[in-house]
């Protein structure tokens, strides 16, 4: 068989992504149809920049879910090696193709004769699985500490801000190296850090519910119990890898990645939340809540936090982008994730070694990383612009 021409490669790639195109078309059609009823999300579709960003982000989300979750889009297994396919150029036909296998390496083969196309798509799944959740955890920690620091001020604020600055001043890469060094992992420090950091979402949920429903004890008890059971189960599974039901399995490497991302991002979130809180707490509706005898946590979580959501949503999008880059950096240094993992950082690092002779194995994941982060930044820009308009 002849190698594919450039046009043929592009055509086949686009065809291979057909489910993603369909999903994107449906998303956009529905969103624009019901635009006026969707609040800020709907307003995003008035903004070309935001729309492009959203399209880029959703492209990778769908690609990741379809490839990693359902096994569509991919042409070959990400770990299978094919003889004679080492470092082949994009569009090379498969030599001695097994029965029923896809006959080409669309974006060529890597140094271990694996399919670059499939690894790039499954790599997206690795990123999409970790980045938003790690960012969400960082937000929970940042919010739970930032609200009281901004609301009470004084000594508490002083101490918490000092700690946040301390963490921010520490070199990130060095921190990662320390966290993943086997000697340190053996001491259990990352696990203990996870144990502490992952406690915050549970505290957050319980306080949120209690402050809202303390006037109706029956409802309060039910919701708090639910939150504690679900939260506790997730906590055991994620932080201690000891899920009694055996459903959640959380490899130690992934835990380290999670902990580092949360640990590094939480202080910045803390500072944003603290600043917003200091601004919003001077509003009359906060005073109104105080004068009807609301507790401080109700004021913080139900009066202040919802009104700080605009800047926080924007920051959340940007921060997923940073986290994606951070994951790339971690993968690049071979920290955390397993060496054969198809995540973009690790793949770029592998491709780097032969960059002067074979460009393509590193190029695909690099481009993927770039487009996702660009999409997130554009989306954040669009959201910011639209949330400022009324």
């Amino acid at each position: 068989m002849e190698p594919l021409s450039t046009l043929e490669i592009i055509g086949r790639c686009l065809w291979q992504l057909a489910p993603v195109w369909v999903a994107l078309a449906v998303t956009f059609a529905l969103s624009i149809r019901f635009q006026r009823r969707l609040g800020l999300y709907g307003k995003l579709f008035d903004n070309p920049v935001g729309m492009i960003g959203f399209a880029l982000v959703m492209f990778w989300v769908y690609a990741a879910v379809f490839a990693g979750g359902f096994g569509w889009l991919v042409t070959h297994d990400t770990l299978s090696q094919f003889s004679g396919m080492k470092n082949v150029a994009p569009g090379t036909p498969l030599a001695r193709a097994p029965e029923g296998a896809y006959p080409y390496f669309l974006l060529g083969g890597d140094n271990l004769a694996r399919d670059v196309w499939s690894r790039m798509l499954v790599g997206a799944w690795e990123v999409i699985k970790i980045a938003p959740f790690a960012t969400l955890f960082a937000f929970m920690v940042g919010i739970t500490l930032g609200l009281p620091a901004g609301y009470y001020g004084g000594r508490l604020d002083l101490v918490l801000s000092f700690l946040a600055n301390l963490i921010l001043a520490f070199p990130v890469i060095l921190l990662f190296y320390l966290l993943v060094t086997p000697e340190i992992v053996e001491t259990g420090i990352p696990t203990y850090m996870a144990a502490v950091l992952f406690l915050f979402p549970i505290i957050f949920a319980v306080v949120l519910i209690n402050s809202r429903f303390h006037t109706q004890p029956a409802k309060r008890n039910l919701y708090v119990a639910l939150a504690l059971i679900i939260g506790g189960w997730l906590y055991l599974g994620i932080a201690w890898n000891a899920d009694p039901l055996g459903i959640i399995i959380f490899p130690a490497g992934l835990l380290v990645v999670f902990v580092s991302v949360v640990f590094v991002n939480a202080p910045s979130v803390f500072r944003i939340v603290r600043g917003l809180t200091m601004d919003i707490k001077t509003r009359d509706y906060v005073a109104a809540a105080q004068t009807r005898g609301e507790g401080p946590w109700y004021v913080m979580l139900w009066e202040i936090l919802p009104n700080a959501r605009g800047p926080l949503i924007v920051d959340f999008c940007l921060r997923i982008g940073y986290t994606t880059i951070l994951l790339g950096t971690l993968g690049f240094f071979g920290l955390g994730l397993s060496p054969e993992s198809p995540d973009w950082g690790s793949t770029i690092n592998e491709g780097r070694k032969l960059l002067s002779s074979y460009l393509h194995p590193a190029l695909a994941p690099a481009f993927a990383l770039l487009s996702l982060v660009l999409g997130l930044n554009l989306l954040a820009d669009g959201l910011r612009e639209e949330s400022l308009k009324d």
């Binding site: 000594r155 009359d284 005073a287 109104a288 009807r292 005898g293 009066e303 919802p306 009104n307």
Partner: protein, 693 residues
């Protein structure tokens, strides 16, 4: 200036129309607007928020931003059509021949530049004069705006000055280039009344001295009466009436102007015998304006088939066309018909004492440094405050910023605890019980209505949800359904449609939000409501409606209302007793009649004189206080008011500077904190006199 002297009108606006273009539609902001400003003349532009008066100012400057466009008519400045000028020529005019003064002084000053540099920049840029000349002129202008120690002021940064001083600097900056036209957009709204009076005085003086023409944009009719020669009333994007100030005030010929005057409290209005008349309905949104006369749907004289037939044009009222109105029926309406007295309400009987405050003090300790302590300073926010409030009574607390009225409210609410003295609610002491330790009943009994309607509701919660939350906290109702019912009856109580329960605050107007705030305060059946300037941020026609609502609820619920305000017109209208505060002290307390007639405390006297009154029959004694209110961080020794008091010379020795006067009784229930002898007090003349008709 090298140009030939020009002696025509300074500004001619002819049939100006301005629209803003949004994604959805074109929004006409100003339609068919005409006004002429002669040299040396001051023209007032009056209207409620959203009527397009600020857009006119922007239109004059040809600065409508990206979305705005002039869609018709012309603006001529000294005979030159502004629309034909090049950007360079416009720049030469802006800030040089036309200067503008805005509401927020701090927003008009560059916080990173010294005052002197900012002032000198203007003539150096426009006239190219040398730095030395510019400095000399800056010094001259700062002296002209009556700021003390001009050299020091020139070296200061904006944040080192008080609000009144900042506004004086903004005025000085506008005068630096000797403009022909000064546009003042609500120049004193952000300032205290006594400071406002001084600024208005200054602007009038400067207008006379420099011969500058002025366009004075304001929502305050009293202020316009004091400053302007002619007035133009705007409603919903159109000028509805234009003429000499005295003519328009005494012989208005447009129903809106009449309705506006009937909705503001002037001396003589009274909550029981002559209540304010509110304008029915709401201000129309720009894209929902009715066919024909814009005021038609709210007008008492509306005639179907005629007023809503076609657009109404300006019609001359008098022969020489000086007084014009946009009303088809102006000749038919009997303008002198007395106001049909709406149901006179019975004066409610004041009940037993509910709240008793004795010798209350609140001191704050201000530490020099949070980390290392540092020298501590004590701010005395409240000093020896004593008063009692009875059931069904309205006690007004009057004072300017920094007088301690907000601190008093905080201590009453339990957000702060007192440093000394007692507060008794039904005989139980609550001064040292913070709100967290108060019983639900006590908390529900003492509630508050806030000042800023745009801030009083949580923007991300529906109106109904916010009221239900208050009901939950106060333990009203057994289940969600009962509380929902109660919430709907509360909406009825404040005269809002029940559908509003599902709305978000941003879908409500200012007055509607304030009603929700009142409903929320009464959720737990409050017996004492502290209303902190509840109507000062609302438009005049809405003020009347909200004030009436408060009075209505008070009558029904027998509430004790503590009405905090600096607006003495409204205080006189609705309060039974008045308490005047200055720098943390109660300087005078008594019934409304006692406080509003002599003998006064010198501060009350100045305050009464400072409030602009929109009534041509009223004559006021002119008292302008020198300087600003001293800082509570650093109060003057002796009597707190001695630095600005004009009666100080009448007190022998330096008693005023050394000793805080004691509270003494002048008449039953009338107390005053002043060293003046009874003899001098008795000789005081009334500040406000209503000329015989």
């Amino acid at each position: 200036m090298a140009t030939a002297p020009y002696d025509g009108p300074i500004l001619e606006i002819d049939k100006l129309s301005i629209s803003f273009f949004t994604r959805m539609r074109e929004i006409p902001a100003v339609m068919d607007f005409s006004v002429t400003v002669q040299p040396g003349e001051a023209v007032g532009l009056v209207g409620e928020s959203g009527c397009g008066k600020s857009t006119v100012a922007l239109g004059i400057m040809q600065d409508m931003g990206r979305n705005g466009r002039i869609t018709g008519g012309t603006v001529k400045f000294k005979g030159r059509d502004m629309a034909t000028l090049s950007p360079e020529e416009l720049r030469a005019i802006r800030g040089h021949e036309i200067a503008m003064i805005y509401q927020e002084p701090m927003a008009s000053l560059n916080p990173a530049m010294r005052i002197g540099a900012q002032l000198m920049e203007v003539p150096m840029l426009h006239e190219g004069i040398s730095a030395a000349d510019a400095h000399a002129r800056a010094l001259q202008v700062v002296t002209d705006v009556k700021l003390p120690d001009p050299e020091r002021i020139l070296r200061a940064y904006p944040h080192q000055l008080s609000g009144g001083q900042q506004q004086r600097i903004v005025i000085a900056m506008a005068l630096m280039s000797k403009p022909s036209l000064l546009i003042l957009d609500e120049p004193t709204t952000a300032l205290d009344v006594t400071v406002e009076a001084a600024i208005v005085e200054l602007v009038k003086d400067l207008g006379r001295k420099y011969g500058t023409s002025m366009l004075f944009i304001s929502h305050n009719l009293g202020l316009v009466l004091e400053t302007c020669d002619r007035i133009c009333v705007m409603y919903s994007g159109e000028a509805v009436e234009r003429g000499e100030v005295a003519t328009v005030f005494d012989e208005m010929r447009h129903p809106y102007t009449q309705a506006l005057f009937r909705s503001i409290p002037v001396p003589g209005a009274d909550k029981t015998s002559r209540p304010l008349k509110t304008i029915p309905g709401n201000f129309p949104l720009p894209h929902e304006r009715p066919q024909g006369c814009n005021f038609g749907p709210r007008c008492d004289y509306f005639e179907a088939g005629r007023c809503d037939a076609a657009d109404v044009t300006m019609q001359p009222v008098d022969a020489d066309g000086q007084h014009v109105t946009r009303c088809l029926r102006h000749a038919e309406i009997d303008w002198n018909a007395p106001l049909v007295a709406s149901v006179a309400r019975e004066r409610t009987n004041v009940g037993p004492v509910v709240l008793q405050v004795d010798d209350l003090r609140k001191y704050y300790e201000v530490a020099g440094n949070t980390l290392f302590g540092g020298a501590k300073r004590v701010v005395k926010a409240n000093e020896t405050i004593s008063f009692a409030a009875r059931e069904s009574e309205t006690l007004a607390i009057v004072g300017e910023s920094g007088c301690g009225k907000s601190t008093l409210a905080k201590v009453l609410m339990g957000l702060e605890t007192a440093s000394g003295g007692t507060i008794r609610l039904d005989g139980i002491e609550i001064q040292s019980t913070p709100i967290a330790d108060r019983t639900t009943q006590t908390v529900a009994d003492v509630q508050m209505v806030f000042q800023n309607p745009f801030d009083t509701l949580n923007p991300s919660m529906t109106v109904g949800r916010q009221i239900i939350r208050a009901l939950e906290v106060f333990g009203v109702g057994t289940d969600d359904a009962a509380r929902r019912d109660r919430m709907l009856t509360l909406l009825d109580l404040v005269k809002l449609p029940r559908q509003f329960a599902e709305r978000m605050p941003r879908q409500l107007s200012g007055g509607q939000k304030q009603r929700v705030g009142i409903a929320r305060a009464f959720a737990g059946g409050a017996r004492i409501v502290v209303a902190d300037e509840p109507v000062s941020a609302l438009d005049v026609s809405v003020q009347a409606a909200v004030t009436d609502l408060l009075m209505d609820i008070q009558r029904r619920e027998k509430t004790t209302l503590l009405f905090i305000s600096h607006d003495l017109s409204i205080v006189r209208y609705l309060s039974d007793r008045v308490m005047v505060m200055y720098l943390g002290h109660v300087v005078e307390i008594g019934t409304t009649d006692q406080v509003f007639s002599p003998p006064y405390h010198p501060y009350t006297e100045a305050l009464l004189s400072a409030v602009p009154i929109a009534d041509t029959r009223v004559e006021k004694t002119h008292i302008v206080l020198e300087g600003d209110i001293p800082s509570a961080m650093n109060p003057p020794p002796g009597c707190p008011f001695q630095t600005r008091c004009r009666w100080k010379a009448q007190v022998p020795g330096n008693l005023c500077e050394t000793e805080v006067p004691a509270q003494r009784d002048l008449a039953p229930g009338h107390q005053i904190k002043c060293h003046l002898t009874d003899d001098i007090l008795r000789r005081m003349e009334p500040v406000i006199r209503i000329a015989a008709e």
